[in-house]
């Protein structure tokens, strides 16, 4: 999937960041909750669908570890998250009025 001019949903952005280290689905949810100071809690239905799509797009890879599956953000996924970070950063700067574009 192309990453140019893409807006990520809050859940997708959070999952990509949380899975920078290999984690199972429940672990990703806990990591997202921790990173967002408890504000973002992703339900299992949402997480399952999001991971399926991210794997299909090549943004997350999956490997089996016993009965569990471990998910890791790929370099393409990291690039998409970085692009979203820059977009959000620009929006924050605009609010403060210190953007010189």
């Amino acid at each position: 999937m192309e990453t140019d001019n893409l807006r990520l949903s809050e859940s997708t952005y959070a999952i990509l960041l949380a899975a920078r280290n290999p984690l199972h689905g429940y672990g990703i949810m806990l990591r997202v909750k921790q990173m967002s100071a408890g504000r973002i809690v992703i339900g299992p239905g949402t997480m399952y669908g999001a991971l399926k799509k991210l794997i299909a797009d090549g943004w997350v890879s999956v490997e089996s570890a016993g009965a569990q599956k471990l998910y890791t953000t790929t370099s393409v996924g990291l690039a998409a998250a970085r692009q979203e970070f820059e977009r959000l950063n620009l929006l924050v700067k605009m609010y403060g009025g210190d953007h010189d574009a």
Binding site: S9, E10, S11, H24, G25, Y26, M29, L30, K33, V41, I42, G43, P44, G45, T46, M47, Y48, G49, A50, Q68
Partner: protein
Amino acid sequence: MRKVEWRLFFAWNEEAELAYLEQRAREGWLLTGYLPLRYEFRQAEPGEYVYQFDYFNGPYAAGEERKAFITAFGWEHILSFAGWQYYRARKGTVESDELYTDAASLQGKYNHLLRLFAGLAVTNLAMAASVLSRSSIGVPGTINLAVALLLTYAAYRTWRRLRVYRDQLR
């Protein structure tokens, strides 16, 4: 101890069914089985529980994988009926009381249901038309027509719900 209750809930108003099941749990009755209109409960310690529905109608292995993923979050899978998956958790033991927590994934869930209701409505309408083309509509044709109307209404209510999620994504 077990008991059976008969109730009618429509697919477009799942909140009413969830509230009914959660109220029964408060009274010490946990759902164990479902057949159309028929709810079976077992007696348990009264408590605060949350129920949630998922919809999945696909290959067995994919369904099992999805179920295992959701139960790893602390949910108990109670039963499957015609693609509907019933889940339950004691309140406070799961991080989120909902399986779907953002507008995009809710849109995915209800888009799927909209296609299902619309498809079944068209099928029933075609069956009614087929009966009518051969003879007077009769009982089978009337049933097909009634089911088609009900499903059309279900599709309409699902479409209205989808519009809310669509607006949230703007």
